[in-house]
Amino acid sequence: MKLRAERTEFADAVSWATRTVGARVTLPALSGVLLEAVDGRLTCQATDLEVAAEISIPVEIDEPGRVLLPGRLLAQLVARFPNAPVNLEGDADRVEITCGRATFHVRGMQVEDFPTLAAPTEDAAQGVLKADAFARLVSQVARAASTDDGRPVLTGVQLDASDGMLTAAATDSYRLAVRSVAFDQAVDGVALVPARSLQEAAKAAGEVGGNVTVVLEEGQVSFLFGDRRLTTKLIEGSFPNYRALLPDAHETTVVVDRAGLSEALQRVAIVAMGQANTPVTLHFGDGSVDLQATNQEMGDAAEALPAEIDGEGLSISFNPAFLLAGLDATGTEQIRIELRDGLKPAVLKPEADGDDERIDDLTYLLMPMRVS
């Protein structure tokens, strides 16, 4: 193999492939990045057998070939290369990499040991949507997924594609985030995707821009954006029937400035954050939201801000971190909070500021905490 690549493109490609797959490998060959130079393009592939990442960049090829190089070492090297073209030359056993005046010799690994990458089948149905819309959808919803491996189905985000819409839902059993976006080219299917893989896909979509193609198949889902592809295995098991959790009525509606509430909450939560399970209590009434937190070891805090309140006044307590995540997800200047009573789940939704403002179809359901 002999080729010449542009430094930034080469560094980005190697770093994306290694980062996307992560460091948890169970076979030595999986710690490698497979570089394949053919037809004017260099393809970098990495996998941990759960997630497979592939990226292709244009290069000048003098001699096509395939090599398997240690991923982390290669990523560390190219990240520190000077701003000059990168030359790769060698065979499967040993590759010489030069950039500017720097020369490295890297031992290759057995190419045959690298597994065949999971990839979408050619005739699989594909859905297409805007990459920035996809990235935003994932960032709003995936935050509600659990990080506890004890209940694997809750570590995933359910993607439900039907009727021209892609609906993403995630829950850790304390909160639920769900939102739909329209496909430009629709596809049907349901997939429970590991939240971490989906967040990597969203990050790549945000970086690349344009469109993202979603390929839903039995046991796996693939995301294609520009010259990158990420295929991940799906989580087995049944995702909870979250639609049954969404309340169909509420007693009190609150519309409040999101940034103001978020800043007040962060200030008040400082006394709550030091101790697990310390809630922040919100009193809604008389055109005001009063926030209050008490920590027996540290002290207490209180702050009030104006709000439009329609319905009976009430008090409700939340885990401040979960409430902040919900406020952050909505994104609009104003936020709508729908409440039934102090022990029933609250619904957070973006609130349109004017008739012209387009808002996301996001629902963030949050279970309150008990206060003794």
Binding site: D149, G150, T171, S173, Y174, R175, L176, P240, L245, N277, N319, L343, P345, L365, M367, P368, M369, R370
Partner: protein
């Protein structure tokens, strides 16, 4: 007034001798010189010399960590208002006393270590009646079911009638998986029981124990003691 020097050297007691633990409440300053250098300016503090020779200077905050300490074996030389504690690693702690407010000296009992069995016993009793927190339909056949290698905490039957051996720990670690593996190997020899599934139950299960259990086909379940006791969770769930 400093107390009269009692022991010129600590931590090297003769066999059979019982050394008291000394506690001084004193205004003192200290200088440590060893892996790094540090200084404690003058303040009222608690200085402890434990029976094994450990020397610790405590402030009036924090549960367990002294401001400065020297692990045994140490050599303590008391010279007037100054104590000099040295050890074989070349570390040196110099304590200068300005005023000793009080001094106590007591012989403590031999330490037998923390007893945590209470939690495991309570977990065993709560999980046995009934063990549906572990999996739906599970019924307990016997607690402390004997094997040649010791008793397994619970022997249960699942909805299909299959035998399930449950080992209960406060914290599920690799040792717990190894222990259950040994029990399972013995239980599989019993034709009345085989095949026997294994389940490790604990309030927290370490990631390494989860991996090892899964690689051996052993199930694992984290249980919440508060929920088992019927206490209300501070943070209720949506489902």
């Amino acid at each position: 007034m400093l107390p009269e020097p009692v022991t010129p050297s600590v931590g090297r007691g003769r066999a059979g001798s019982v050394r008291p633990m000394r506690m001084l409440i004193a205004r003192c300053s200290a200088v440590y010189d060893g892996r790094l250098s540090s200084t404690l300016t003058s303040a009222v503090r608690l200085v402890m010399v434990k029976a094994d020779g450990c020397v610790a200077i405590h402030a009036d905050v924090g549960a367990y960590k002294p401001l400065n300490w020297m692990n045994a074996p140490n050599h303590l030389v008391e010279d007037g208002d100054t104590w000099e504690v040295t050890n074989p690693k070349g570390e040196r702690l110099t304590i200068t006393f300005e005023q000793v407010l009080d001094e106590l000296s007591y012989e403590l009992d031999t330490e037998r270590g923390l007893t945590l069995d209470g939690v495991e016993r309570e977990l065993q009793l709560l999980l046995a009646d009934p063990p549906t927190h572990l999996e739906p339909g599970l019924k307990c056949v016997q607690r402390e079911f004997r094997t040649d290698l010791g008793p397994v905490d619970l022997l249960c039957r699942d909805v299909d009638g299959g035998a399930v051996a449950v080992e209960i720990k406060r914290i599920g670690e690799i040792d717990g998986v190894e222990q259950l593996t040994r029990y399972l190997e013995r239980l599989q020899r019993d034709p009345m029981l085989a095949p026997v599934r294994g389940v490790l139950a604990a309030t927290t299960i370490k990631p390494q124990a989860r991996v090892l259990a899964e690689s051996r086909g052993i199930g694992w379940v984290e249980v919440d003691l508060g929920v088992l006791r019927g206490e209300e969770e501070p943070h209720p769930r949506l489902f």
